[in-house]
Subunit: 150 residues, 2 copies
């Protein structure tokens, strides 16, 4: 479980790999050192003959290469960490929303209850009007025991 290490080569498409280099050596052999790069679509493989200086091969020994690799490895680690972090945040968001939801449901329950109480009061009052109360004003329309919901 640590990192850094060593070598190898590949052939076909890109599924290659290996690590390499470490301070303390262990220099097993190296093998080709130049590897065809890019599997490309239907491209065949290495053009038989030449390749000026920078053809389609990669010198796995070059400092350039190693540096590039190391940088990419860092980038990859960083990116993955970020990704993981985001996933975790999302999970947290879910819990947060769930809590918020419960809070809202509770509030709804409360409001509903209050409404129900008030409506009952209205009904009761309407009954009172019908049973025990008489309008006093000059307008007779008030004698109407009218109670409607919502």
């Amino acid at each position: 479980m640590s990192k850094t290490s060593q070598q190898n080569s590949a052939a076909d498409a890109h599924g290659v790999s290996v690590i390499h280099s470490q301070p303390h050596g262990s220099g097993l052999q190296q093998v080709p050192q130049l590897v065809p790069v890019s599997p490309g679509g239907g491209g065949k493989a290495v053009p038989p003959s030449k390749q000026g200086k920078k053809n389609s091969f990669v010198d796995r020994n070059s400092d350039e290469y190693r540096q590039r690799r190391e940088r990419n490895n860092m980038a990859v680690k960083k990116s993955r960490l970020k990704s993981k972090q985001k996933a975790q945040d999302t999970l947290q968001r879910v819990n947060q929303l769930k809590e918020e939801n419960e809070r809202l449901e509770a509030k709804i329950k409360l409001l509903t209850k209050e409404l129900s109480v008030l409506k009952d009061l209205f009904l009761e009052h309407a009954h009172n009007l019908a049973d025990n109360v008489q309008p006093v004003g000059t307008d007779a329309s008030a004698a109407n025991p009218d109670s409607k919901g919502q």
Copy 2:
């Protein structure tokens, strides 16, 4: 994408790799073929010739090995797919909860409005009682302009 076989080596701990080969050739050399496995025990390096059956080396050419690798690769793909799926589900869950939340908030708004209307009616009625109405029954409690909030 394709698979099967091939190369490379390693040294220190594990960070190796490579893929295998391909039907059509590309037979770059092979190098060691036997790789020390596990940092663990103090195995030396590859014994030039044989290795009984199971010493601390891995024959990267063995069918056993290749089969094992292939199975693991499948498992890995499967696992990653599953993982991705789960992450996506979580995201979906977030949106779902957000919608639910909006729905609840709307409902709260509505209920609050209704309550407010009813309370206003109560107040108005209470004023009517005070201004134009007189209780007729034997019960005096009806004359009470009582309105309390929340």
